[in-house]
């Protein structure tokens, strides 16, 4: 099977779209709001231009599944302060360098001479730590359950190698608690979830079963190709018409019910669950990962004392509402007029998976 071309097949898409229209016609009138939690889905849907092909009753909402977007300003401020320590190298994934903090961002700090490096994986950061000892390496651990196991693995590797100069500043977050927080939010109206494909590779489709039953919302784990998304929407509509609410897998080529047990064990070995602050959503109980006491020597938040500026962000920025699916980027007064990829005000415009960035790049006029 050719995963790239066959899952983008025009003729097959047409047939699935017809099936979707037929299902929608057979349902009672009214909008069906499907939240696609994951930033990669937001981009994939835009890149294939699916929105306009779906019947108008189907409304796709973008959610908080963009780890850069939900990282609070305070975290960026802490990373900036760490970058200013002469004995520290800060390593991060690319998107983080442009996210605005209260007074500066990592890109500007780099131009001022701070040692800020963009890496493609945490193993690069470990290598840099090894080769540049005794210079301290702080890796910005931002991500969901997809990346947390690799960070856990890196910490274990650093421990095995006896590295004394490798640290992680963890802002890892968990998806299912955020989904549950959204469903408990009175302002938010969601009828079903398109669940994140790669997070689910790790945590398994079982992770959505209880919230699906508790809140009576269909959950379908979807792949990222256009036909994956279309088939997932069809599966959601089938659940709605049958009156069922369960967690199903469309992305069967990668996702299983139980997920990757070894990855889950790795996460559990190094991290423990804690409350976490999500930009736009506030503090969500038991939705973050903190490095366990046993690995405290690798925890940047414990090992470094920094003075943080007063947290400040633009009050006109609607990233919070956008992340909860209450507003779309065009409804933000700053969108395209003040906030653009060249001069982002909020993180949703910075991240390549941010909703505002996706709307700007692909959806402005279409």
């Amino acid at each position: 099977m050719r995963y790239l071309s066959e899952f983008r097949d025009g003729k097959l898409s047409k047939r699935v779209l017809e099936a979707i229209s037929a299902k929608v016609r057979a349902l009672p009138a009214g909008e069906i709001k499907i939240m696609e939690v994951c930033g990669t889905h937001t981009v994939a849907i835009f890149r294939s231009g699916l929105r306009a092909l779906l019947p108008p009753q189907i409304v796709l909402l973008s959610g908080p599944g963009c780890p850069v977007c939900v990282t609070p300003t305070g975290y960026i401020d802490r990373a900036v302060e760490l970058g200013r320590v002469p004995s520290v190298t800060v390593a991060t994934f690319g998107d983080m360098v442009k996210v605005p903090g209260s007074r500066s961002n990592l890109e500007r700090e780099r131009a001022r001479g701070a040692d800020i490096r963009v890496v493609y994986s945490v193993t690069d950061a470990v290598k840099i730590a090894e080769s540049s000892a005794p210079k301290k390496m702080v890796f910005l651990g931002v991500g969901f359950e997809t990346t947390a196991p690799t960070i856990a693995s890196a910490i274990l590797e650093a421990q095995k190698k006896g590295l004394k100069n490798f640290y992680v500043l963890s802002a890892h977050k968990l998806i299912p608690p955020a989904m549950e927080a959204l469903l408990s939010d009175k302002e938010v109206k969601i009828d079903a979830f398109l669940c994140p494909g790669h997070v689910s590779v790790i945590i398994g489709a079982k992770s959505y079963q209880s919230l699906s039953e508790k809140f009576k919302k269909p959950c379908v784990v979807s792949g990222f190709e256009p036909l994956d998304v279309l088939q997932s929407i069809l599966m959601i509509l089938t659940q709605i018409s049958e009156g069922t609410s369960k967690s199903e897998i469309q992305y069967t080529r990668c996702v299983t019910r139980d997920g990757n047990i070894q990855a889950q064990r790795l996460m559990d070995r190094v991290f423990e669950v804690c409350d976490a602050n999500w930009r736009g959503l506030g503090t969500i109980p038991r939705s973050g990962l903190r490095i366990r006491e046993e690995f405290a020597t690798f925890d940047a938040s414990r090992q470094f004392e920094v003075n943080l500026p007063r947290e400040r962000s633009d009050r006109h920025c609607l990233c919070g509402e956008v992340l909860r699916g209450i507003k779309t980027p065009p409804q933000c007064g700053l969108f395209t007029k003040v906030c653009t990829p060249e001069s982002p005000v909020g993180p949703c415009m910075v991240s390549s998976e941010g909703t505002c960035s996706a709307y700007f790049k692909y959806g402005r006029k279409v």
């Binding site: 790239l4 983008r8 097949d9 025009g10 898409s13 047409k14 835009f46 890149r47 294939s48 231009g49 699916l50 929105r51 306009a52 092909l53 493609y120 256009p226 036909l227 279309l230 990829p341 060249e342 390549s352 700007f360 790049k361 692909y362 959806g363 402005r364 006029k365 279409v366």
Partner: protein, 339 residues
């Protein structure tokens, strides 16, 4: 004379060492009577009927210096030759400036000079003048090259990114994104099963073949940094037109496409160094495609879209599944030091 096997600061000092380097390593390979005069300026005798002069310059800071399908030398000649060809000019002569980092192995410089020689021969241009500077360690990351070029535009040829017209067909000469992916893989040490090769090539011959048959070409643009997304947006903005591109018609090698997917890169914004986008009246398009396909650098040529509107500059992609979306001007540094 015993040559050091590395470039030393002294090689840029203007003294004997430098002159020996220039004569033995550079000029002896790029042999031509104008260069070998070693005067402060090259004197060119230009026929009065030669036509309008096209003049361009470019600097090359690609990292790494050697990559599958090319090197900084081939790139430095091709890039400047192509900039001239895109205006409908026949490239004739180039200048060649080296800024060398102290410590660069002499063997590397020799390889690069040979590559320049071969590419210049292929493009039918000669190096008339040049310069060598050497900077201290850490000052240039191996080697930086600048080339400037002169070409002549025949009468009746009026090619510009400002000239695209409503109804024009948009054509590309082959597979996209190979250069950027090749550089990225080399730089990051990524070894995919199928190793992508850069498409780096001088296109003067291909363009000459097209203009030789079909005079009424409106636009030509080489999609380098920023990929075809950038080039198409420049045409749209400069000509004030809307362009529609058909995703399923864009030629891309399977291996390159897969690499882009794995690395999270949009192939439309990945760099090329051997591609030309042509806009011409729709009726002439089949002839242009056929002419391209007869040439070694145009075998996979295709019509990929059309100019659909006037007054509102934008580029729209019709996706494989029947949807549509904007192709925006890419922002920022996707992959630094790509050319």
């Amino acid at each position: 004379m015993n040559q050091s096997n590395q470039i030393l600061l002294a090689h840029g000092g203007g003294g004997t060492l430098m002159h020996t380097l220039i004569r033995e390593t550079i000029a002896s390979k790029l042999k031509n009577p104008i260069l070998e005069k070693f005067d402060d300026s090259a004197i060119l005798n230009v026929r009065r009927t030669a036509g309008r002069i096209a003049f361009t310059t470019d600097s090359y800071v690609v990292k790494p210096l050697f990559f599958r399908g090319g090197d900084i030398g081939r790139l430095a000649v091709s890039g400047t030759v192509n900039d001239l060809a895109m205006q409908g000019a026949k490239p004739v002569v180039i200048s060649l400036s080296f800024i060398i980092e102290e410590g660069l192995p002499l063997a590397n410089l020799q390889k690069i000079v040979l590559s320049i020689k071969r590419t210049a021969k292929e493009a039918n241009v000669f190096v008339a003048t040049g310069d060598v500077k050497v900077v201290q360690k850490g000052g240039a990351d191996g080697l930086f090259v600048n080339t400037s070029g002169i070409g002549f535009i025949p009468k009746g040829v009026n090619v510009s990114s400002h000239n695209a017209k409503l109804g024009d067909a948009v054509i590309i000469n082959g597979f996209i994104a190979d250069h950027g992916i090749s550089i990225m893989c080399e730089r990051e040490g990524l070894k995919f099963q199928t190793q992508t090769r850069s498409d780096c090539a001088p296109l003067a011959g291909l363009v000459g073949a097209i203009l030789g048959r079909i005079r009424n070409i409106h636009c030509m643009k080489d999609p380098t940094r920023g990929g075809i997304a950038s080039a198409l947006n420049e045409i749209a903005q400069n000509s004030e037109v809307s362009i529609e591109i058909d995703e399923s018609e864009i030629p891309i090698r399977e291996a390159t496409f897969a690499a882009c997917e794995m690395l999270g890169l949009d192939p439309l914004i990945v760099a090329n160094e051997g591609k030309v986008i042509v806009a011409c009246p729709a009726a002439l398009a089949p002839d242009v495609v056929q002419t391209m396909r007869k040439h070694r650098y145009g075998k996979a040529a295709k019509i990929i879209g059309r100019v659909t509107g006037k007054g509102k500059p934008e580029v729209i992609l019709k996706t494989a599944v029947g949807g549509s979306r904007i192709i925006d001007m890419p922002y920022g540094e996707l992959l630094p030091r790509i050319c």
